[in-house]
């Protein structure tokens, strides 16, 4: 009975200090499965390579020091040589810079364009929305390789062009997402509240819309990045990719394919490089957007 009373008092005390139990659990940090952790490790690894690559590469990407083309690993050609007798390892290391670096830049640019227009369309609506959306649709409707081909044939294939064209192509999908997000954030009560307060449009976008759009966009970033990597590889396949002697993984796969038939791994290694990077990114994204439905689905009988 006595401890019952004390319990009672506790409860009442609690009620008086309005320390109620939170409805939602406190903000949970992104938690990665072990797979996710490995994936992160891989991505980090490549990022490091990008930074310190050139200083650790045994050769320069353009050096043709190998005895011959398509050689298996020997003394300090740890992954053998490519069809011109260049060191595969060095080229992969240098290639990281071009392939990933360019893709990241392109994706970032795509996001700047996509988000700006997307939010603008969502916030302004009306004919502005209409115009932007139509143009967006038509770019979507055209096969991206085709766009790439035309753009590069017209403007030549410099790294900046590559970045530009991939950015434009992938901005379209970013635009769609950003627009959708923007539209349903704009009708949130807290935005209404800001409007009622008399806040300017810019302030609303900057401190109400963007912060709330950030996370979903971030997860999408990974996927876009992968697409850009693959897109640039495809361009390389058509011989429109990054300019020699700069090595990029896509064209490395491409130019050494023939080696496969007589057991040269010169095209396997860069392919692995692409795969490890893109798969890791995808795994991380999957992990972060941990399928909310999954937990409920597990309860099915």
């Amino acid at each position: 009975m006595t401890e019952n009373n004390t319990r009672e008092e506790e409860v009442l005390a609690k009620l008086d200090t309005f320390d109620e139990l939170p409805d939602a659990p406190p903000k949970r940090r992104i938690k990665l499965s072990w797979v996710g952790k490995i994936a992160v490790a891989v991505v980090v690894f490549w990022m490091i390579i990008i930074v310190i690559g050139p200083s650790i590469a045994p050769y320069h990407e353009m050096d043709m020091e190998g005895e011959d083309g398509f050689l298996d690993a020997y003394d300090n050609f740890y992954l053998g040589t490519d069809y011109l007798g260049r060191d595969t390892l060095s080229r992969i290391i240098f290639g990281a810079r071009n392939t990933i670096g360019i893709s990241i830049l392109a994706t970032l640019l795509a996001y700047c364009i996509g988000i700006t227009l997307g939010i603008a369309a969502a916030v302004k609506g009306g004919w502005i929305d209409m115009c932007i959306s139509r143009i967006n649709d038509s770019i979507l409707a055209l096969p991206s390789i085709m766009l790439g081909l035309i753009a590069i044939a017209a403007l030549g294939s410099s790294i900046s062009i590559l970045i530009g064209i991939s950015a434009i192509i992938y901005a379209t999908s970013v635009f769609r997402i950003a627009r959708a997000l923007g539209q349903d954030i704009m009708v949130q009560d807290y935005v209404e509240a800001a409007k009622a307060r008399g806040e300017g449009l810019w302030w609303i976008i900057k401190s109400e819309v963007l912060p709330n759009a950030a996370m979903p966009l971030a997860t999408d970033f990974g996927l876009r990045l992968v697409f850009v990597v693959l897109f640039i590889s495809s361009l390389s396949f058509l011989g429109l990719g990054i300019q020699p002697p700069a090595s990029d993984w896509g064209s490395m796969v491409r130019e050494n394919l023939q080696g496969l038939t007589y057991g040269s791994y010169a095209s396997i290694w860069p392919a692995c490089a692409i795969a490890t990077f893109t798969i890791s990114i995808n795994l991380i994204v999957d992990d972060i957007s941990a399928k909310s439905g999954g937990s409920l689905a597990k309860k099915m009988v």
Binding site: A153, Q243, P244, P245, E255, N256, Q258, T261, Y262
Partner: protein, 541 residues
């Protein structure tokens, strides 16, 4: 490949030879060449004298393995598209040439040794100063639609290359002809502006096909094959022309298609989906050589791997820059590593051994010498340059990369701008200060040099205008005395070697892949697959 002869010098059978040499011999024997000629030819392709001798004794076999009729072949070219043509005067690619060769005939055709031979013309005679040529036209030749071929058709066809409003690809090449005149029902006359001893060889050009009067070709020719179907950019099917004027083709049908992707082309060849593939990439040589049932045909040719430094602008106008570019070329490595041996070192002139006696072998070979290169670049006061490159000939891209790597070593910054082939000839070649170029081999050293280096010529792609050069080109045409003639040619090649803006580190062989049971392949070095002469000649073993 040659090595395999050395051990057993004594008796090798014809089959031991690789098809290119084999067909060489076979054709030679068929044409009843003298022993000396055949030996000469074979030496040219690098066969040792001993082998050649012992071979010749066996040439009886060559006669023995007579062609047999029947069978069909599917041939895949490297380029095709909606712009595939049936109009000879607009032919630009191997696939057009091949269709042309199967469907039409010309007045003159080339032998493997580049000797002009009569085809629709029975005979051809120049007048005294070779300013007029008379052609007797073969009788009893009829088009696929049955109508007989007469002088009118010839005059019509040949005149399509002349005149202001002609869109002929070879308009300027044929410009030395003033007009074509019908002399009789089966005789025509070509009246030239100036004398030209080489006219017959010009008539062997792929575009000089005889088509029906008033037509634009449309696949109705006098050739060994009739055209069944033609889809631009897809394929064409041809069946043997049974009432052909000559002994005619051996194959029943040929399908001509294109596979643009080099890897795919080789894979298709190896897996037997196609029997002939043009332009094998050096990367794939080993694959083709090692594969069962397919053979790599490699014909030495003056397929130049050229770098044009325009003389009318910087940096090309500076002679030392050009010298630098010439010395930085690691010619040996290009031939060994990039062309995998299927090519020959170039000496910065478009003429090479395949051109026969007119090649100036005594001209000292320019070697790879970074220090000299460095010296010249320094002297020129140029620290870097930009070179535009497209895959116009196999290995050229890589050669440029090699040069770039070597330049980097001597602190010269050579920027490579890789551009797609489409639009290259219009936008880059002859426009950008430094660019790559190639030319199909021309039958004569003169014509070879004339295209590029005749002062003011339409395609003088280094804008190097040298009057002496022009003079020599003219004189050499009518010079009869071998020694004088050779001297002239040497002077021209030396001029180009030293003064033009041309860098020619190497010549690529013409490399094609065929399945091993194809016999009687021609080896005319003027184009892929024996300059597309094969349809009428080959048979299946």
């Amino acid at each position: 490949m040659k090595d395999k002869f050395r051990p057993q010098s004594g008796d090798i059978t014809l089959s031991d030879l690789d098809p290119s040499d084999r067909s060489l011999v076979e054709n030679a024997v068929k044409k009843g060449f003298s022993r000396r000629e055949i030996l000469k030819i074979m030496m040219a392709t690098g066969v040792t004298a001993a082998t050649a001798n012992s071979l010749f004794t066996k040439s009886g076999e060559a006669m023995a393995s007579t062609p047999k009729k029947g069978g069909s072949i599917r041939m895949a070219s490297n380029l095709h598209g909606p712009d595939d043509q049936l109009d000879p005067r607009l032919f630009t690619s191997t696939i057009d040439y091949t269709r042309g060769r199967a469907t039409y005939n010309s007045l003159i055709r080339h032998s493997n040794e580049l000797v002009p031979q009569a085809e629709l013309a029975e005979t051809f005679e120049p007048n005294s100063d070779a300013s007029e040529w008379t052609f007797k036209i073969r009788k009893g030749v009829s088009f696929h639609d049955g109508s007989p071929m007469t002088a009118d058709d010839v005059v019509y066809s040949m005149s399509r290359h002349l005149g202001e409003d002609s869109t002929s690809v070879i308009k300027s090449v044929m410009s030395s002809v003033k007009e074509w005149k019908k002399v009789g029902q089966h005789e025509v006359k070509a009246i030239l502006h100036s004398s030209n001893a080489d006219l017959p060889t010009l008539l062997g050009l792929f575009q000089n096909k005889i088509i029906k009067n008033g037509s634009t070709g449309e696949g109705n020719g006098t050739g060994p094959f009739k055209m069944d179907s033609f889809e631009p950019g897809v394929k064409s099917v041809h069946t043997r022309n049974e009432d052909y004027w000559a002994e005619g083709a051996n194959l029943d049908t040929i399908e001509i298609t294109g596979i643009t992707d080099p890897v795919a082309r080789v894979n298709a060849l190896i897996s037997g989906d196609i029997q002939m593939a043009t332009v094998i990439d050096p990367k794939a040589f080993r694959q083709v050589e090692e594969a069962e049932g397919v053979t790599l045909l490699s014909t030495p040719a003056a397929l130049q791997m050229g770098i044009c430094c325009l003389k009318n602008t910087a940096p090309g106008e500076n002679a030392d820059f050009v010298k630098g570019m010439q010395y930085i070329q690691d010619r040996e490595r290009i031939v060994k590593k990039i062309l995998k041996g299927k090519g020959s070192v170039g000496n910065d002139t478009p003429v090479m051994s395949a051109h026969g006696p007119d090649f100036c072998s005594e001209l000292a070979q320019r070697e790879f010498d970074p220090d000299k290169a460095k010296f010249h670049f320094k002297k020129a006061g140029i620290s870097g340059a930009e070179i535009f490159s497209a895959p116009v000939v196999s290995g050229v891209q890589d050669a440029v990369l090699l040069a770039q790597a070597n330049c980097a070593k001597i602190g010269f910054d050579l920027q490579v701008k890789k551009v797609p082939t489409d639009g290259y000839w219009g936008a880059v070649w002859m426009n950008e200060p430094v660019n790559v170029v190639t030319w199909n081999m021309r039958p004569t050293a003169n014509s070879q040099m004339a295209i590029q280096f005749a002062p003011g010529a339409a395609w003088n792609d280094t804008y190097w205008n040298n009057d002496r050069m022009g003079e020599l080109l003219r004189l050499s045409l009518s010079e009869i005395d071998p020694d004088k003639r050779h001297a002239m040619y040497c002077e021209m090649q030396t001029l180009i070697h030293n003064e033009s803006g041309m860098v020619i580190p190497a010549f690529s062989n013409i490399n094609d892949g065929i399945s091993s049971n194809i016999m009687g392949m021609p080896s005319v070095p003027l184009g892929q697959l024996g300059a597309c002469e094969w349809p009428e000649l080959v048979w299946l073993a």
